[in-house]
């Protein structure tokens, strides 16, 4: 089974027009507020470097506004960085042209979204087959393989239903099945379980760990919830205000929090 590693190197993302000026100020270690006041630019990501190993679940954690959703969208280039490099299997994907990028998205990386992003006018089965239909595979084979992924997430009985007839948890399982049908080495999951209620969420986390044990995908999982991060992550990266605060195993985070920000997270969890 092939797997892929991801390497994010010195990524900066600055939103605004005068990005070059903002980047200079950032290198002079000016604060985000100062940069916003001087250039009108918002610093989204500040010098992020990550080595994401193959075949594991890598969690990126942070509060809303910390830049985690922006960061994960760099990996399949839904967002392009202002500066920096992103390597997948040692190839710089920022140098890809439109066709290469489309190939990357079709064969290498799939994504699961917070509010599912399903097509309301397609059945569960066709939604699950989406990636294969995009590649232009025959409808019958696409549906057959989509059915197999629906079996993996336990939704075979709902193949003919439409997304709006399903509960939130079931819809997200369709989202997961869609990514599984694509059978890519890498799956990006952007707050995939955050919209679900706690019980369903626990179930989904278990299911994900289960699947990972069998499939060994490289999963990049975004969450704002430390419990979730600790439960499913082999490694956890913590983002704060666009900067990387700590990267480590769940144990590292719990026992050796890098700063007060991480400590507060951990303490809140112990208190609860």
């Amino acid at each position: 089974m092939s797997t892929s590693n991801i390497s994010v190197r010195n990524i900066y993302k600055i939103f605004g027009i005068h990005t070059a000026a903002a980047l200079d100020l950032l290198k002079q270690e000016k604060s985000k507020a100062e940069i916003l006041a001087q250039t009108g630019c918002n610093v989204g990501l500040n010098n992020i470097s990550l080595e994401i190993p193959e075949g594991k679940i890598f969690v990126i954690m942070g509060l809303s506004g910390s830049g985690k959703s922006t960061l994960v969208r760099h990996i399949n280039r839904l967002i392009d960085p202002t500066r920096g490099e992103i390597l997948i299997d040692d190839k710089n994907i920022l140098a890809f042209n439109e066709t290469e990028l489309r190939d990357l998205r079709r064969h290498k990386i799939s994504m699961v979204f917070q509010s599912f992003g399903l097509l309301p006018h397609w059945t569960v089965l066709d939604n699950s087959a989406f990636a294969l239909l995009t590649r232009g595979e025959k409808k019958s084979t696409a549906r057959q393989r989509a059915m197999e992924s629906l079996k993996l997430v336990g939704l075979t009985d709902y193949a003919k239903y439409y997304p709006d007839q399903l509960s939130g948890g079931m819809r997200q399982r369709v989202g997961l099945a869609r990514a599984l049908t694509a059978d890519t080495d890498i799956i990006l999951m952007d707050e995939a379980f955050s919209a679900l209620d706690p019980l369903i969420r626990g179930e989904m986390q278990e299911q994900l760990l289960d699947l990972e044990e069998r499939l060994h995908k490289t999963i990049v999982f975004i969450t704002h919830d430390l419990d979730e991060a600790l439960r499913i992550g082999n490694q956890i990266a913590i983002l704060w205000d666009g900067s990387l605060v700590q990267v480590g195993t769940p144990e590292d985070i719990l026992q050796r929090p890098a700063n007060d920000y991480v400590k507060r997270f951990v303490e809140k969890r112990v208190a609860a």
Binding site: R105, G117, H121
Partner: protein
């Protein structure tokens, strides 16, 4: 005095000369355009529509409206209302009016939907065309009717041209709006799986924009119907003729007959196109609701 305050400006002469020169220089070509439209579009379609026995049209309207609305009572009412138009002796004129409307709407669709899509995709185009659309919608039609007649002579062709200019803007606007309103995450999700722009358009954007686009088609149809009277003023035949005749001869009764026919057509087309703005399942749900 106000007349001293304002610097007098007039470009009426220049415009007149411009139109005149177009007529003298390109008159033949424009005439050919006009002939081609008549020969390949307007006349054959009208012959075809006139050749269909009225009872078949009644049945088709009944079936279509039932398919769209799933309300048998309403479909029967529509069929009787159409039959009533025939009873008033206006069947042939109704078909003539429908013919001009159909051709105008087809042209509007062919032009309007792609422009709406392009505008949703390119901001500068949108910014450029929005004021143009405003002008098209608000510029008094009696003003541009004159050059339309001068360029394409009287009859069906300038009627179609004038109708298209008047009825096109809402379709473009609502197509653009519909595509811009497509759920961002559905679009992003599709894109993240490596769709081409074309796949994204056909699978995601157009279907999700459908209610808005159908509302645009509905608006365009209504505006096209509103143009029938004006069209009759430039020599297009149809229901507008009777209305105009009623107006100029103080024959309220005759005008009212044709007026009623226009109203019946308007309601029929409005209800059917609105219903098709919803998808099959939405319609099914609404009907379950009304039966329960």
């Amino acid at each position: 005095m106000a007349s001293e305050f304002f610097i007098p400006i007039s470009f009426a002469n220049e415009l007149n000369l411009g139109i005149d020169s177009i007529v003298t220089n390109y008159g033949d070509q424009l005439h050919r355009v006009s002939e081609i439209m008549l020969q390949y579009l307007l006349v054959p379609l009208e012959h075809f529509l006139q050749s269909i026995p009225p009872w078949i049209i009644l049945i088709l309207v009944g079936l279509t409206s039932y398919h769209a609305l799933r309300r048998p009572g309403l479909s029967v009412t529509f069929v009787f209302a159409l039959y009533f138009i025939g009873c008033l002796g206006l069947w042939e004129k109704t078909i003539q009016t429908l013919n001009i409307m159909l051709v105008s709407i087809i042209i509007c669709l062919v032009i309007g939907v792609p422009i709406g899509i392009l505008m949703a995709r390119t901001k500068w185009l949108s910014r450029l065309l929005l004021p143009v659309l405003d002008v098209m919608q608000t510029f008094p039609m009696f003003v541009y009717m004159l050059p339309a007649v001068m360029l394409f002579s009287i009859g069906k062709v300038p009627a179609v041209m004038a109708t298209v200019i008047y009825a096109l803007p809402p379709l473009i606007r609502l197509t653009e709006l519909g595509i811009n309103q497509v759920d961002e995450e559905a679009r992003e999700a599709a894109w993240s799986f490596g769709t081409t722009r074309w796949q994204l358009l056909i699978w995601v954007q157009l279907p999700l924009a459908r209610p808005s686009i159908m509302a645009g088609i509905n608006q365009t149809t209504m505006l096209a119907l509103a143009m029938v009277v004006v069209a009759s003023m430039i020599g297009a035949r149809g229901l507008g003729e009777d209305i105009l005749h009623g107006l100029t001869n103080l024959d309220f009764g005759k005008g009212a007959h044709a007026g009623i026919a226009v109203v019946i057509l308007a309601i029929l087309i409005d209800r059917v196109t609105q219903a098709y703005g919803m998808n099959r399942r939405q319609r099914a749900q609404i009907n379950q609701g009304s039966q329960a």
